[in-house]
């Protein structure tokens, strides 16, 4: 899936960030005379080198990302079955239908619910686990591994596994409820439209909290001991140290983790597809599932393209706004350092 590759790159980023970012050891202002000429030549050589190294990546990026996005944009204006050239131009009709479609509006609502649950429950849970495992604790490495393990598992295996665990009557979950005397509740988990989303969220939490936990732990490692010690000497309680020292210093990590979590929730597909295929009666359907249904089951590819365009726009606008207003402070170092060096 898209977001897992994305997450990996984020892990790499956070590993690399130890490198002092803002080293403004500028090459100095370009003076006149021969020094200025060599500087200019060096800049030219630099640009050529950069272009040469970037072009394969840019070419692939254009071919595999830009072109398909533009093509989806184009086909979303057609009533098109997916084969042959699109001919039946309908303008924005697909989008008009889309925003009147109860299933799609439901997708938006369910996406919102999943984001709210993720940010409100899953991430705080991951943070508390990270703080806990950051203490001196017997078997700490083992727990870290244990909690991170689900993230390594593929979405499909996770899906199949939890279909069995939450199987009505015969599954592990119902047996567990039986043992504590709650067997009569008769919860059917994925099979009931009123419980399916919450059950799905449980699985998502199981699967992804370990990843966020590792992110937070990396962030915690880089908080200098002495700041915490100073706070302790000043008489700050454990909670105060967490609230006023750890949490603010962890800010950048939290902001990135929220970003990844939200993008992941918007694009959620494989886990849901394997477990419920969006059912019962659309109760767990996401935008990506609706897109797949129309694109590959109904062969209404123009309409499916319209869904993918809306999905893209939501991600795009969210990412821009988030970068502009939330990540700005974290970005500053990276951006200004480049300018300083040039």
């Amino acid at each position: 899936m898209a977001h897992s590759a994305f997450k990996n790159s984020a892990v790499k980023d956070s590993a690399l960030e130890k490198r002092p970012a803002g080293k403004a050891t500028a090459a100095g202002p370009a003076g006149g005379g021969p020094r200025g000429r060599t500087a200019r030549r060096r800049r030219l050589v630099d640009s050529v080198t950069i272009a040469a190294f970037l072009s394969p990546a840019m070419l692939l990026f254009a071919l595999l990302v830009l072109v398909p996005i533009l093509y989806a944009l184009y086909t979303s204006l057609f009533k098109w079955g997916g084969f042959g050239a699109p001919e039946n131009f309908v303008g924005l009709e697909n989008f008009r239908t889309l925003f009147k479609d109860e299933v799609f509006l439901g997708d938006l609502w369910r996406g919102f619910v999943l984001i709210a649950l993720s940010v409100g429950i899953q991430l705080p849970f991951a943070l508390s686990m990270a703080v806990l495992l950051n203490q001196k604790l017997r078997g700490r490495a083992f727990y870290r591994l244990l909690f991170f393990a689900p993230y390594v598992l593929s979405e499909v295996i996770t899906g199949v596994l939890f279909t069995m665990i939450f199987a009505p009557d015969s599954g592990l979950a119902d047996h567990a409820l039986d043992l504590v005397g709650l067997g009569d509740l008769g919860i059917t988990w994925f099979a009931d439209s009123s419980t399916v989303l919450v059950t799905l969220f449980l699985v998502m939490t199981w699967k992804y909290f370990g990843f966020h936990m590792i992110l937070y732990m990396a962030g915690l490692q880089s908080i200098p001991r002495d700041v915490l010690e100073a706070a302790a000497i000043d008489g700050a309680s454990a909670w105060q140290r967490f609230r006023h020292v750890t949490l603010p210093l962890l800010g950048p990590t939290i902001r990135i983790s929220v970003f990844l979590s939200i993008i992941g929730a918007i694009q959620l597909f494989d886990l849901v597809w394997v477990i419920t295929a969006g059912g019962p009666v659309h109760a767990s359907e996401t935008m990506a599932i609706t897109m797949f249904q129309f694109g590959f089951k109904r062969y209404q590819v123009g309409y499916a393209s319209a869904i993918s365009v809306v999905m893209f726009l939501i991600c795009f606008v969210f990412a821009l706004v988030y970068q502009r207003y939330v990540l700005r402070r974290d970005l500053e170092g990276a951006v200004t350092s480049m300018r300083g060096r040039r």
Binding site: A2, H3, F6, S9, A10, D13, L16, E17, A21, L64, V65, L66, P68, A72, L73, T75, G82, F83, G84, M164, A167, D169, T188, F190, A191, D192, G219, I223, L249, P252, T253, I256, F259, I263, Q267, T276, A277, G279, P280, V281, M291, F292, Q293, G295, F296, K297, R298, Y299, A304, S305, S308, M311, F312, C315, F316, A319, Q323, D330, G333, A334
Partner: protein, 431 residues
């Protein structure tokens, strides 16, 4: 400290991936070299879906046997799994070039290919021997009075039931009318038996109920008319929903059926196979899948046709089902048709039937059936007075999916019979 934020490039990549998934439909090319004429060397391209046993063995066997008898003919087989085959064929149809022999389920898709002028009209070629085949089996491939494919399998949907559980509930004979079926469900429930297994997650098993009820109420003619006028809002379809609602209101399905699959170890087939539920509405493949997914019922497994509905104009002998056949591309060599004749011969059909995975299409192959239930199915098919192809094959995919979705909503009590009929009509009209 501070985590380095994502570069603009990588976030664009991430955001962009959301958008790329749809249009990258594999439009793969294919080529078939069709050299015509007889006597000299001929290569026949044959695309089929025989990727599982026993077809995986029987198909190449038949090709080899034919090649041995006709040394100048070489048959080149390409076997693809159902869904892969469907999308590849859609691409081939768009490109205007089909393999010499290709698998078809008949109905709407075949009609599209015929309309595009890509399929050979074999009416004249098969005339001398088509009479050897059961008329129902040929029907999905006859369009506008012309024949476009030769069948190798035919089947139908009906109720498979557990005789022991029926006896336990005191049900003397399999229900013949809808009222009797509802009564049987009540009896089974009061005997503590789950009456019906249903794979609600997959939706298509649920649509059998609605479709069959519509056939019983309005006859095959009602569906034929709806396919032409694209109007499913008529009385037979609304009433089908109402009758189905009567059944749903009795809560006849297993606990958590809305999350259940068909061929999994706790799905619909397994529920039947392990004796947990009393019946399922399923095609002729049901006994095979039951055996695969559980203990199997053995002699306790019985079959009865879909019950009639009081006041309905559809006869009990009208059947709902589908099969498989082979069609020819418009410039397929003459040898290709000869091979289809060979493939549909009694000898080859008996081999298929003996594998228990196929029902006979050739007259005289019936005696190869050993299973008493399959014998009943085959006889019902042979005596059928009307035939309706599976709706997702007879109609465009969007309409088939809408039927599945809407019936699923009805079964979950989230839609009324009227809403179901209207929604399907709306989708059909938009096609």
């Amino acid at each position: 400290m501070g985590t380095e934020p994502l570069s603009r490039r990588s976030f664009l990549a991430a955001a962009g991936l959301a958008g790329i998934s749809v249009p990258v439909l594999g439009a793969c090319g294919g080529d078939s070299d069709d050299s015509g004429g007889s006597g000299k060397k001929v290569t026949i391209e044959w695309w089929n879906i025989a990727t599982t046993e026993p077809g995986r063995t029987l198909w190449p066997q038949a090709a080899k046997a034919y090649e041995a008898a006709h040394p100048n003919v070489q048959i080149k087989m390409t076997s693809l799994e159902n869904d892969a085959y469907k999308s590849k064929m859609t691409a081939q149809t768009a490109s205007g070039k089909l393999p010499d022999i290709f698998h078809t389920w008949g109905g709407g898709v075949l009609e599209q290919q015929v309309e595009a002028g890509l399929v050979k009209d074999i009416t004249g070629g098969v005339a001398p021997w088509i009479g050897n085949l059961s008329p129902i089996s040929v029907q999905p491939y006859q369009l506008g009075g012309k024949t476009y494919a030769v069948p190798y399998d035919i089947g139908m949907v009906g109720f498979w039931y557990n005789k022991a559980l029926f006896a336990k509930a005191g049900i003397k004979a399999p229900p013949a009318t809808w009222a009797e079926l509802l009564d049987a469900v009540r009896k089974l429930k009061s005997a503590g038996v789950t009456p019906i297994a249903l794979a609600g997650k997959e939706k298509w098993p649920g649509h059998y109920y609605w479709s069959y009820l519509a056939i019983r109420i309005g006859g095959v003619a009602a569906l034929k008319q709806a396919a032409e006028t694209k109007d499913f809002s008529g009385a037979p379809f609304v009433q089908a929903g109402q009758r189905l609602k009567e059944l749903v209101d009795l809560a006849p399905f297993q606990n958590g059926f809305q999350g259940a699959s068909y061929p999994t170890t706790d799905g619909q087939a397994a529920q039947m196979s392990n004796g947990k539920t009393a019946m399922e509405l399923m095609g002729q493949w049901a006994p095979n899948v039951q055996k695969e997914m559980g203990k199997g019922l053995g002699d306790d497994l019985g079959f009865f046709p879909f019950p009639t509905v009081a006041g309905g104009s559809g006869a009990a002998t009208e059947v709902f089902g589908g099969g498989g056949g082979n069609a020819l591309s418009k410039d397929a060599p003459a040898e290709a048709l000869d091979f289809l004749k060979f493939f549909a011969s009694v000898e080859n059909d008996r081999k298929r039937v003996a594998s228990k995975a196929f029902l006979p299409i050739a007259k005289g192959a019936e005696s190869a059936i050993t299973d008493p239930n399959l014998k009943t199915v085959s006889q019902t098919l042979n005596n059928a007075t009307g035939f309706q192809l599976f709706l997702d094959q007879a109609f465009p995919p969007a309409v088939g999916q809408e039927v599945n979705d809407q019936v699923a909503a009805l079964v979950a009590s989230k839609a009324t019979p009227e809403q179901v009929a209207q929604a399907i009509t709306k989708t059909a009209k938009s096609q």
